[in-house]
């Protein structure tokens, strides 16, 4: 009873704080809400999660999109409302806030930052964890990929959680090596750029067949689900979401499954500059940039790069990407680290200009188009995290 009282005080104070924050236009108030609740009741997370069925979605790329897909699948397939966090809030405060918002919803689907996943695994006691992928990202913060999978491996040792993983990623296979129940999905194998050696025993991995089975046994567990090799990142994640939804008791019709893997949702936004429209893709690390480059179908391209904390302070990763598909296109680089990316692509023989602002970059492309007598250029932009957020903030009503 006393426990509940403390939690009620915590949520009431949190609500007041977040309203104030919104009134003063300091932000959406979600994170502040979570912080106040956790400060007043340090056991808020445990209490708010007790008796509920929780799915956590984690991995380097695709967390937010997959979480949205999963919410939709579970709501459609169970007829129940699902609690979730909006705007990709995936650390302790954001998760607390999401859990407190509709405490009576039994079903909860949350994305979780890779480094917080072990803590959330222990505190929330989730029913299902979906692990999408692990590749290099924010190297200054997370350390190497191997360290993240080592932490997961050490944490995941109970048998009351079901994991859904892409087993083609050896780092995920290693992460769940001691876990009790694992649904393994394979997409026919694909070479992992960061896994030249085995995460479990450090032996060299032979990728001759685009797949791996290490002498130590890693990779030898048979997959439960076999999906098409042709699927790209977002579609692969959708397949994992379907398996997780089924574990949550949702009924997922087969037709829907096909529809999902063919038109997997991805994070694009449309920014307008006068009459000029720019399709913008948020991409934060080499793997997501490679995916985004495949989507460049126009000749007028903007690349926007910052290197603030969340972007990764070290821009070296820009050199891990092959930009040769941009050859012959018109490219303008912007963002605080525009020279890093501009120089990198110039070394690949790509014609490039720079501009201080995103709007300026659009203008430069328009000038370029005029020079080339192209009347209505279609524009596509790839932006790193804060570069995207800054621009999105200028385009009110656009959701990431």
């Amino acid at each position: 009873m006393r426990n509940q009282f403390r939690l009620n005080c915590a949520t009431a104070l949190g609500l007041a704080a977040s309203r104030l924050s919104r009134t003063l236009r300091l932000g959406r108030g979600e994170t502040l809400y979570g912080r106040v609740v956790s400060a007043v009741d340090p056991l808020a997370l445990e209490k708010l999660s007790s008796g509920r069925d929780i799915v956590l979605v984690s991995g380097t790329n695709g967390k937010t999109t997959t979480t949205r897909t999963l919410v939709e699948l579970v709501e459609r397939g169970t007829g129940e409302k699902v609690s979730t966090a909006t705007f990709g809030a995936n650390m302790v405060a954001g998760i607390t806030s999401a859990l407190a918002q509709f405490p009576r919803h039994r079903l909860v689907v949350l994305e979780c930052d890779e480094l917080f996943l072990p803590e959330m695994y222990n505190r929330l006691r989730p029913k299902v964890i979906v692990l999408l992928n692990l590749s290099r990202d924010q190297l200054h913060r997370t350390g190497e990929v191997r360290k993240v999978s080592e932490r997961w491996h050490d944490a995941f040792q109970r048998d009351d959680v079901s994991f859904v993983i892409d087993r083609d990623d050896p780092f995920l296979e290693y992460s769940v090596a001691k876990a009790g129940h694992v649904i393994r999905v394979t997409f026919g194998g694909r070479r992992h750029p960061d896994a030249a050696t085995c995460p479990q025993c450090a032996r060299l991995i032979s990728w001759a067949t685009n797949d791996y089975i290490c002498e130590c046994g890693l990779g030898s567990a048979l997959p439960e689900v076999r999906a098409s090799r042709a699927l790209r990142g977002p579609a692969r994640n959708a397949v994992l979401a379907v398996e997780a939804a089924r574990l949550m008791g949702a009924d997922v019709p087969v037709e829907y499954l096909h529809e999902l893997s063919e038109s997997a949702p991805d994070r694009f936004s449309i920014f307008s500059f006068g009459s000029q429209v720019v399709r913008v893709k948020l991409a934060k690390n080499p793997e997501s940039w490679r995916e985004a480059l495949i989507d460049v179908t126009t000749d007028f391209v903007i690349l926007s790069v910052n290197a603030r904390g969340i972007d990764g302070l070290d821009t070296s990763w820009l050199w891990d990407i092959d930009y040769s598909s941009l050859k012959g296109k018109y490219v303008v680089c912007t963002g605080e680290r525009r020279l890093d990316v501009a120089y990198r692509i110039s070394v690949q023989g790509i014609d490039v200009r720079t501009s201080e602002t995103f709007g300026g970059a659009v203008h430069r492309l328009e000038e370029w188009a005029t020079e080339k007598a192209v009347s209505t250029p279609e524009m596509f932009a790839i932006a790193s995290y804060t570069a995207y957020q800054d621009e999105a903030a200028r385009h009110q009503g656009v959701k990431p």
């Binding site: 190497e144 191997r146 450090a202 302070l313 820009l318 020279l339 120089y343 690949q348």
Partner: protein, 253 residues
């Protein structure tokens, strides 16, 4: 050294060997190769790049060898492969240029911690002794000053991200001295002591600077190239210079 003489004689051709990129290429260090190729081609030099993967023999007669940074396990794997192969040691002995970054820098030295933590012998191309300490990992932008013949010094910038600290042998020169960041050694309270970064011995270069370092410092790329090609024709690459200048002025006002 006869090998060295024959190398500098053939100035219109250059072979660059990129060693174990999949093992040691975690921080965009592959870019160093691309920059060398770009700047050599601009001088009319015919460049070929040979990628060496585990299981393939390391060529003995190339002019420039590059090794990048990576994690402890792959570092140990690469060290064992290079030791068993012997090609890199042999080429370095004949005057080839070796440019090694971070984990690569550590493994061309005399000793370093293996992935299990115990000390192991490095390739011994330079007298550099790396050990681990319990200090936090050195992560962040780094600025150093490299000595130049005219005495003015060359400012280098990069991004460091490493756990080990590296002590150079008596009389062995660093690549530069630290102006910002950590470099080879522990940060000292006493600011009067110069702090070394990297190593430079003959044609062997080692550094903790990522970035990639040769992209952020075109002058250093030219120093590496001229170690094999002799004097280079001028090359005006506005974007390269603007990038290098932006990093220098942002970090070191």
């Amino acid at each position: 050294m006869s090998g060295s003489a024959s190398r500098t004689a053939s100035k219109s051709e250059l072979t660059i060997v990129r060693l174990y990129h999949d093992l040691l290429g975690t921080y965009g260090d592959a870019g160093n190769t691309e920059v060398l190729v770009h700047r050599a081609k601009a001088r009319g030099v015919a460049v070929s790049v040979i990628d060496i993967n585990p299981g393939e023999q390391v060529p003995r007669t190339a002019e420039i060898y590059l090794i990048g940074g990576g994690e402890d396990g792959p570092q140990t794997a690469a060290l064992e492969l290079l030791r068993a192969d012997g090609g890199l040691t042999s080429a370095a002995g004949q005057g080839a240029t070796v440019f090694a970054v971070c984990a690569g820098f550590q493994l061309i030295g005399s000793s370093l911690p293996a992935s299990g933590g115990e000390l192991t012998d490095g390739l011994g191309l330079v007298a550099a002794y790396t050990r681990y300490t319990s200090d936090p990992r050195s992560v962040g932008e780094i600025v150093t000053q490299m000595p130049t013949q005219d005495g003015s010094g060359l400012i280098l910038t990069g991004f460091e991200n490493h756990q080990g600290f590296t002590q150079l042998g008596e009389g062995v020169s660093p690549l530069g001295t630290v102006l910002l960041g950590v470099g080879n050694g522990l940060p000292t309270e006493d600011n009067t002591v110069t702090r070394p970064e990297g190593v430079w011995a003959g044609n062997v270069f080692g550094t903790y600077l990522h970035g990639p370092v040769l992209a952020r410092n075109p002058e250093l790329a030219d120093i590496v190239l001229s170690s094999q090609l002799g004097e280079l024709a001028p090359f005006d690459d506005e974007l390269a210079e603007a990038f290098a200048r932006e990093r220098r002025t942002t970090l070191f006002k």
